[in-house]
Every structure is written in structure tokens, then in C-alpha cells.
């Protein structure tokens, strides 16, 4: 939308500061959350770097927001699974045949 516009007034040191790429949370939710949502976050995290380094600052900021959204989705989904699992565990009194 604001493509091509020189985004926020460039400071004395050149381009605006890069947006957070959320790479760490993307990796953590990919490795620890058992759901492929972390991968989506990882894709957007990489897009932040690519877009920002080619000067597309507005799109980089958008990718940054998406990366954040998806690692949050991953955590919430995992928490939901854990809560359901806990509920099952409690209602079956721990006698769950876990298909490990």
C-alpha cells in the first residue's frame, strides 16, 4: 500500500531501524510446539530480513507482525492441546494408554 514511499523520516544514520523478525520465537515454537504453525512464523521471520534488506520497509514491518501472530497461534494451540490432554488425564484418572 505504502509501497515505494520512503517510510518514517530516516534518522541521521540512514534507513529506519529493522523490525524484530521474531526468529527466536519462530524456531522455539517450531521445535517445541509440535504443530507446524511455527514453520509459518519462520517463513515470515525470513521474509522480514529479505524485504527489509531490499528496502521494502513497510512490507517488512507487515511480515514482522505476521511472524509474531503465528508464533502466538502456535503457543495458544499447544496450550489448548495441553489443557484438553490434562482434562482427559484427570477424567480417566491417569489410566490413559498413551500411544507414544
Amino acid at each position: 500500500m505504502s509501497y515505494g514511499y520512503p517510510a518514517p523520516p530516516p534518522g541521521p544514520y540512514g534507513p529506519p531501524p529493522p523490525p524484530p523478525n521474531h526468529m527466536v520465537m519462530a524456531i522455539l515454537t517450531t521445535v517445541a510446539c509440535c504443530l507446524p504453525f511455527g514453520i509459518v512464523s519462520l517463513v515470515y521471520a525470513n521474509k522480514v530480513n529479505t524485504l527489509w534488506q531490499t528496502g521494502r520497509y513497510a512490507e517488512a514491518a507487515e511480515a514482522s507482525n505476521n511472524a509474531k501472530t503465528w508464533w502466538i497461534v502456535s503457543i495458544v494451540a499447544t496450550a489448548a492441546v495441553a489443557i484438553v490432554w490434562l482434562g482427559v488425564l484427570i477424567s480417566f484418572g491417569g489410566r490413559v494408554a498413551n500411544p507414544y
Binding site: N21, T30, V31, A32, C34, A77
Partner: protein, 151 residues
């Protein structure tokens, strides 16, 4: 949030230095370290190697395929117990990520203590390489030839 720190002394000039001190305490890296330590301790004590302690990966349960994270809890448990080869056997990718995350954490601490701005972004191809290797790992560990990478 970190960007606003340099502006703090100006904003809080009238109330004195106390608000500045409270603002920078507890430092986020310490909180993250404490959280990581608690998770590692919990996973090392409540063994994921025994069934019934943790839920099964929902992706594995629904599709029957391993996700890239399958085995990471067991790998973490084995790492804490200094069984590195066993950890690698459960999830190579997770084990490789541990030193990388530690490096990022150290860099974060340094940037915060020097009060510099946000870190410069790494070369984009590095991130894409990471993503590509993750996807390859995901596929190969589900194939018969990749049995060594399966948890």
C-alpha cells in the same frame, strides 16, 4: 520496548532515578534464562521417556507423521542428563538449535547492556538456509532412509 530505554532519563527527570531503576529491573534476559532453566529442570525431572507424562504431538497423532519438533522434549531431557548422542538420536535439529539460541541470548545481553538499538538483521539467505534444512529434516525423518533422524 528496548528502544524506549535511552529516552527514559529524559521522561523521568522529575521523579528522580528510581523509576529508571525499576524500569530496567528485572532484565528480560534474566527472566528468559530463569524460564529456560525451569523448563529444562522440569523436563529433566519429569521424564518424557516414560509414557503418560506429556501429551503426544498433535501433528503425529492426527497425521501419523513426525513433525520437526517430535522428540525435542526427549532430546532436551537427554541433554540435561549429558547424554548427547541419545539427544541427537531423538531430535538432531533441536540439539543443533541449542547453541544457536545460546549465542542469540548472549548477543541480546550484550546489546541490552550496551543500550544499542535493535540488532542488524542477518543476511537473508542464512535464514532461508535454516528454513530449508528444517523442511528437509522434516521430510527425511519420515522416510525409511531417514530412520536415524526419526525420534
Amino acid at each position: 520496548m528496548p528502544m524506549s530505554i535511552p529516552a527514559e532519563p529524559v521522561l523521568d527527570a522529575s521523579p528522580g532515578p528510581h523509576r529508571f531503576a525499576r524500569r530496567s529491573w528485572p532484565p528480560q534476559p534474566l527472566a528468559v534464562l530463569a524460564l529456560a532453566g525451569s523448563v529444562a529442570t522440569y523436563v529433566s525431572l519429569v521424564s518424557p521417556l516414560a509414557p503418560g507424562h506429556y501429551p503426544t504431538c498433535p501433528f503425529l497423532m492426527v497425521t501419523g507423521w513426525y513433525c520437526p519438533g517430535c522428540g525435542s522434549l526427549r532430546a532436551l531431557h537427554e541433554l540435561v542428563h549429558r547424554e548427547i548422542w541419545s539427544a541427537i538420536g531423538y531430535n538432531l535439529f533441536a540439539v543443533v538449535m541449542v547453541p544457536l539460541l545460546a549465542y542469540w541470548w548472549l548477543r541480546w545481553v550484550r546489546r541490552r547492556s550496551l543500550a544499542t538499538g535493535p540488532a542488524p538483521l542477518a543476511a537473508a539467505w542464512l535464514g532461508w538456509l535454516l528454513l530449508a534444512s528444517l523442511v528437509v529434516f522434516w521430510i527425511v525423518r519420515n522416510l525409511p532412509i531417514g530412520a536415524a533422524l526419526a525420534p
